[in-house]
């Protein structure tokens, strides 16, 4: 009797087995992802109740108020760029953080991937060590380092390089630094695995065919590593754009990002539909980026150039 016949998949129908194996995952996705998103979607088309919660009356006010301000007196709409600015700032901050993560991670990942096997594991553990500490604690700790009376400013002032503390905290710079610090490993790890799979003989072949170092990097290394680069960038960009902690703590609430805006709507502002609408916008934006990348990746494989 073969192993195949012994396996329990032949006794129970294959479809049932599949369902049994997939079931927990499907349940988790339904309960923790689909249901909340559906609730958010519905709420975004309802009226805000005065003390939080929603009134069950259909309206698109939440979406309108992202772009327009309703005048109290004559009910007319005037364009307001405030929320667009927050959104643009979020995209910008996340973009910069992603770019800097890339710049830092490419050499780091390359270095780790080209070490002997034993050293590789040590480096990989070191990369993940910060993750053993809670993100909130790490972010607050970073704030202490960056503050006006923090060690960086203290050292620089004692050495006489500066007379006034540098404004390192409570601004865009601090937020960006916080984002990079939070999500850097998400860039290093996919790039590491891409470098590890990279066949360095391709580089020799490129040099052999008269390519310069630069050309070989641009025409061989980058395209071959493309999936790793895209994966890493997404893993940094998506959590960055909706990040809540870094802007809240390191930005001191002064450089608001969309995550904070959404958070405020569900807390102090008590405008659930508006928060839900903003969430939907953020979600749509993220999906569009993903879709665009997926399409480009698809073209890459079918395009013969």
């Amino acid at each position: 009797m073969s192993v195949r016949q012994l396996s329990f998949s032949s006794r129970i129908s294959p479809r049932l087995t599949d369902l049994g194996l997939l079931g927990p995952a499907i349940a988790v996705i339904l309960v923790f992802m689909v249901a909340p998103m559906a609730i958010m979607f519905v709420y975004s088309f309802l009226e805000a109740a005065p003390y939080g919660g929603v009134e069950w009356r259909f309206t698109t006010d939440a979406y309108t108020s992202i772009l327009f301000e309703r005048d109290f007196l004559d009910d007319s709409l005037t364009f307001t760029p405030d929320y667009l600015v927050v959104l643009a700032r979020s995209v910008f901050q996340a973009g910069i953080a992603t770019l800097l993560c890339l710049v830092i991670s490419v050499p780091t990942a390359y270095y780790i991937a080209t070490r002997p096997e034993r050293q590789k594991n040590i480096w990989l553990v070191l990369i993940t060590i910060p993750y053993w500490v809670n993100l909130l604690i790490r972010t607050i700790a970073l704030l202490f380092v960056l503050r006006g009376d923090g060690p960086i400013n203290a050292v620089l002032m004692n050495l006489g390089f500066i007379s006034e503390p540098l404004p390192l905290s409570y601004n865009g710079f601090a937020v960006c630094l916080g984002l990079i610090y939070s999500f850097l490993p998400f860039m290093v790890l996919p790039l590491y695995s891409a470098f590890e799979r990279f066949d360095f003989r391709l580089l020799e072949a490129a040099y052999d065919l008269y390519a310069s170092r630069r050309t070989a990097f641009l025409r061989i290394v980058l395209p071959v590593m493309r999936p790793g680069l895209i994966a890493g960038s997404l893993l940094v960009f998506i959590p960055s754009i909706g990040s809540y902690l870094a802007p809240d703590i390191l930005g001191g609430g002064k450089t608001l990002m969309i995550g904070n805006l959404i958070g405020t709507q569900f807390q102090s502002a008590r405008n659930w539909p508006f928060g839900a609408a903003l969430s939907m916008i953020l979600l749509t934006l993220t999906l569009l980026v993903l879709l665009w990348l997926a399409r480009r990746a698809g073209q890459q494989t079918s395009d013969c150039r």
């Binding site: 066949d199 020799e204 065919l209 071959v224 150039r305």
Partner: protein
């Protein structure tokens, strides 16, 4: 004209370190233009290192390396008029066959129309025109092999380096590609330097062969030369099958020596270099050049005992013991000698075809 030349070449890995390893030792070699030249040796002998030094992928430790009269010792790969067919082909996975082949030409700044024309010609040359728009990972090993060849030939290098390009193919395909490679070399007139550990491959394709062992050049010559007149025990043993017998020189008379194989036979053989009486030497005899007769028949040779008989289809292989040394003989089936057959335990007379005994250095 000389295509490539190395003089006093040495390569030491981890020089100065505790794990220093001398891959090539004081190497001198000249390769003629339009030659199919093979570097042959067991794995780890330094043949690939030599190829990589010619390609510019490894720096040499000592000596010089010239290609068509130009000293390239310190030039990077992209500055050498040389292209390489890599062992695992190293085709660019994100490019079509056409783009792979065009890459070198594009890097050289060849005009677009000329590039496309040349790529088409290369595709036709390696019979891959139908696969121009395929990606490398959708093709078989033999097809990839052809693309790698076309890619390396497209920029019309003065020298083509081939690093065991057939080793990843199965036997049938390997034999077919041998003929194709040889034909391609003749057609293009480009000097091929081919690295392999497969002596059969080397004999079949090469104009000349360099046999390398432990980082040292053992012998250079035509396939016939290497096979018929091995200079050392290593070459005799590595190229084809060979019986190696320990013998002592008993007399030297001009270009001929009398040799004694203890307990087996007194032999006369021509010698190429001076030998002293009493000197110990090795004799090499190919198994197919031994003549077996029933014991008692008078042949110039000695007596041996059959210990094993193996049927090979086109021949019978006998394992013999003669005076404490072992011998292997191949007797073809049919024909005069084939009428005779022996079984283990038989005693036979062993003779040697004229000119079949070579004195080699131990």
């Amino acid at each position: 004209m000389i295509a490539a030349e190395v003089r006093g070449l040495s390569k030491v890995y981890n020089a100065g370190g505790s794990r220093a390893f001398e891959a090539l030792k004081n190497f001198d070699l000249s390769i003629n233009a339009n030659e199919f030249f093979t570097l042959l040796g067991p794995s780890g002998c330094g043949k690939t290192t030599l190829l990589r030094i010619l390609g510019g992928f490894e720096a040499l430790t000592e000596g010089t390396c010239t290609i068509f009269g130009q000293d390239v010792s310190r030039l990077p790969p992209e500055a050498r008029p040389v292209n390489t067919v890599f062992q695992q082909y190293a085709l660019f996975p994100h490019m079509s066959v056409r783009r792979n082949i065009a890459f070198g030409l594009e890097m050289l700044g060849t005009p677009r129309a000329e590039t496309e024309r040349r790529v088409d010609r290369m595709l036709a040359l390696v019979h891959m025109s139908d696969y121009a728009d395929r990606k490398p990972d959708t093709m078989s090993g033999g097809q990839r092999q052809r693309v790698a060849l076309a890619r390396a030939l497209a920029p019309q290098p003065k020298l083509l380096l081939l690093d065991e390009p057939l080793s990843a193919l199965d036997l049938k395909l390997r034999q077919k590609m041998r003929l194709e490679l040889k034909a391609l070399q003749r057609e293009t007139g480009i000097t091929f330097i081919f690295v392999t550990h497969d002596q059969e491959e080397a004999l079949a394709m090469s104009d000349r062969i360099a046999v390398i062992d432990k980082g040292r050049l053992q012998q250079v010559g035509t396939p016939e030369d290497i096979y018929e007149n091995p200079e050392s025990r290593f070459v005799a043993d590595f190229i084809g099958e060979s019986n190696l017998l320990d013998a002592r020189v008993s007399a030297v008379n001009g270009g001929e020596a009398a040799l004694i194989v203890e307990g087996f036979a007194d032999i006369r053989a021509p010698i190429g270099r001076p030998l002293a009486v009493g000197q110990l030497v090795s004799l090499s005899v190919r198994p197919e050049r031994l003549i077996l007769r029933e014991a008692g028949q008078d042949v110039p040779g000695g007596i041996a005992r059959v210990v094993a008989r193996t049927y090979l289809g086109n021949a019978v292989e006998y394992h013999l013991v003669a005076g404490g040394q072992t011998l292997t003989a191949h007797a073809p089936r049919g024909g005069l000698r084939g009428l005779l057959d022996f079984v283990p335990g038989d005693t036979v007379s062993v003779g040697f075809e004229p000119g079949s005994i070579k004195v080699v250095s131990s």
